[in-house]
């Protein structure tokens, strides 16, 4: 039972990072129907920003977190502006290949500039472990969970309560109609990218603290897992992405704990394929069929 709770705690911490990443996927897919392959790499940029800002300018945790969110947001907007905006009316496959190109560019660009070495993330917060009934919880785990939850609630409020959030929902339902009623499509899409990418930036700093190591290719696998999480929750749905993220995180720690950690990535892909086949709309998604 103890190990079970221990795994739940570990799974929740990892899952909250996937959830933060999944939010970006789900929002971007919801609004322009693009699997933003480069999303995982924005998370990598966030982690690198955290690394340098803490090491060079001695940022504290909050400063590093907030500034990496800003960096994430800016990079997201720039990527959308230069790479995706010209392709808004192209076939989706064209946009997807471009997204792969952007991802490729960020990974190799960072590897070129900063070498592809793995480096250890500065421990800006001293780790303490608390023992609660035999279950070990570190302050960093609590911090990750709390930060992720705050950000998720904040995001939900922005989407549900603000004018920009309403515009985002309108564009995702029907961009042409939204434009007709006076919504600035470009600005709304940029805002969506900014919002989603800031979550990825935050996730980057959090993972740096949690796993203590970062490298230019670190975004690839978590990016794909977060996408699986978004699909699992129902792509386009914000609560779905959060739930999906937690589920994937727990699944992964579960497999790690039963000694199959070599296969933990494979399991995520198996889950993806099964979900796509039996529940293509995910837990909270809507199914759309082609009209004849």
């Amino acid at each position: 039972m103890q190990t079970f709770f221990q795994q739940i705690i570990n799974g929740l911490s990892l899952g909250s990072i996937y959830a933060l990443l999944a939010l970006g996927y789900t929002m971007v897919y919801g609004i322009i129907k693009l699997i933003n392959f480069a999303h995982g790499d924005i998370y990598m940029l966030g982690a690198f920003w955290g690394y340098y800002s803490i090491n060079a300018w001695h940022f504290n945790f909050i400063e590093a977190l907030l500034s990496s969110m800003v960096v994430g947001a800016i990079s997201g907007v720039i990527i959308e502006y230069f790479a995706y905006r010209p392709l808004r009316h192209s076939p989706r496959i064209t946009a997807l290949i471009t997204a792969i190109g952007v991802s490729f560019f960020l990974e190799n660009g960072m590897a070129y500039l900063f070498t592809s070495d793995t480096r250890s993330f500065p421990q800006v917060i001293q780790q303490h472990n608390y023992n609660i009934g035999g279950v070990l919880i570190s302050n960093i785990q609590i911090l990750i969970l709390v930060t992720a939850c705050i950000l998720m609630v904040l995001l939900q409020l922005i989407i549900k309560r603000t004018k920009m959030g309403k515009a985002m929902r309108a564009v995702s339902v029907d961009a042409d109609a939204a434009e007709l009623v006076g919504i600035n499509i470009n600005r709304t899409i940029s805002f969506t990218f900014a919002l989603g990418s800031s979550m990825a930036g935050a996730a980057g700093v959090l993972i740096g603290l949690y796993y203590n190591s970062i490298d230019p290719l670190m975004g690839m696998t978590p990016g794909i897992k977060a996408f699986v999480a978004a699909v699992l929750g129902g792509i386009g749905s914000v609560p779905g992405a959060s739930l999906g993220g937690f589920l994937i995180g727990m699944l992964e720690t579960l497999f790690q704990s039963i000694g199959l950690s070599a296969y933990k990535d494979a399991v995520v892909y198996v889950v993806l394929i099964i979900i796509l086949l039996i529940l293509p709309a995910g837990i909270f998604g809507k199914n759309v069929k082609e009209k004849v």
């Binding site: 392709l87 496959i93 560019f105 690839m220 993806l272």
Partner: protein, 319 residues
């Protein structure tokens, strides 16, 4: 009938001429082992990309897991030639690789080919990763370290001949009743069904055919380079095959040949640049997608039967 014979003869002549040209250049010493390596890599990439172009460009199914099938062929050859150390063993291993790839393509394709567009891309990528992770953890494949000292039975001539053969198979398939059915699936699945075409069967046929040629290229890769590791077949390598297809033109086999050659040469030139090379690739991919999404050649194909027809028409006019 006569025109058909003529075009077939021209193609055959071209292939034989290519062979002797290479042979002579190697004998004379114009092609050194460095260039030979480059040419072999280009040949292997052509086999891979022609197969992927069949799946993406002609059947319209966006598969992102081509490297997984290449891995199957590569490991089949590595494992089998380690125990049957002879050319016969190599060709048996190639056959085993193809059969395995077909079986796995069926296992992967039957459930996933019902998905559309980007979802299929993600699912096939997942499938390829599963293959890689399994290889990474098996004893017989020597895990993450990979396999070394694989006996070399593939030289440039083997690769050249296999390249010609696989291309003939795929091009002939495209120009047959099956090829048209496959293309109708790309154009409009619902209309194709209404015209009596078993959409799923043809999708699967294209997918399996593409996968089996990928396995052949994997065998050649393993036998020529003599060293393989699971990481040679990761998402990145699937993407590099995709880049060749996209650059050449989705739906143009001629374009695939051109793109594989151009990229192969550039790759060799930029070899000293290391990571920068990948950055340049990435930028090129983005720029192509934005400014010329149809690739270098679009869907244009080199066709001798068309050229012959044109010559005939011209002659008719001048006479």
């Amino acid at each position: 009938m006569k025109a058909n014979l003529k075009t077939n003869a021209i193609w055959l002549g071209l292939m034989i001429a290519g062979y002797y040209l290479m042979n002579t250049l190697i004998l004379v010493g114009v092609i050194n082992s460095f260039i030979e390596n480059m040419l072999v890599t280009i040949g292997i990439n052509i086999i891979l990309a022609v197969g992927l172009n069949l799946i993406i460009g002609f059947a319209g199914q966006f598969s992102l897991g081509h490297a997984g099938f290449m891995a199957i062929g590569a490991y089949a050859s590595a494992i089998i030639t380690n125990s049957i150390n002879s050319p016969i063993g190599f060709y048996i291993s190639m056959g085993v690789g193809v059969v395995l790839a077909i079986v796995i393509a069926l296992v992967v394709g039957i459930p996933t080919l019902r998905l559309r567009g980007d979802y299929l891309a993600i699912a096939t990528m997942g499938a390829a990763e599963i293959i890689r992770i399994i290889i990474n953890n098996l004893k017989i494949t020597n895990g993450a370290a990979g396999m070394f000292n694989i006996p070399q039975f593939a030289d440039w001539a083997t690769v050249y001949i296999m390249m010609c053969l696989t291309t003939i198979v795929i091009v002939n398939f495209i120009h047959s009743r099956g090829g048209r059915a496959v293309m109708s699936v790309r154009e409009d699945e619902i209309a194709a069904e209404a015209m009596g075409i078993n959409v799923f069967k043809w999708k699967l046929a294209a997918f399996v055919l593409g996968a089996s040629t990928a396995a052949i290229s994997g065998s050649l890769h393993a036998s020529f380079l003599q060293t393989i590791a699971p990481n040679d077949f990761n998402i990145m390598s699937s993407i590099s095959i995709l880049i060749i297809v996209v650059l050449g033109g989705v739906g143009s086999i001629t374009g695939t040949f051109v793109a594989a050659t151009v990229l192969g040469v550039i790759d060799t030139i930029l070899q000293n640049f290391g990571t920068l090379r990948m950055v340049i690739y990435a930028v090129a991919l983005i720029l192509i997608m934005i400014f010329k999404p149809s690739g270098i050649l679009g869907t244009w194909e080199l066709s001798f039967s068309r050229i012959l027809k044109r010559i005939k028409v011209k002659r008719g006019v001048s006479e």
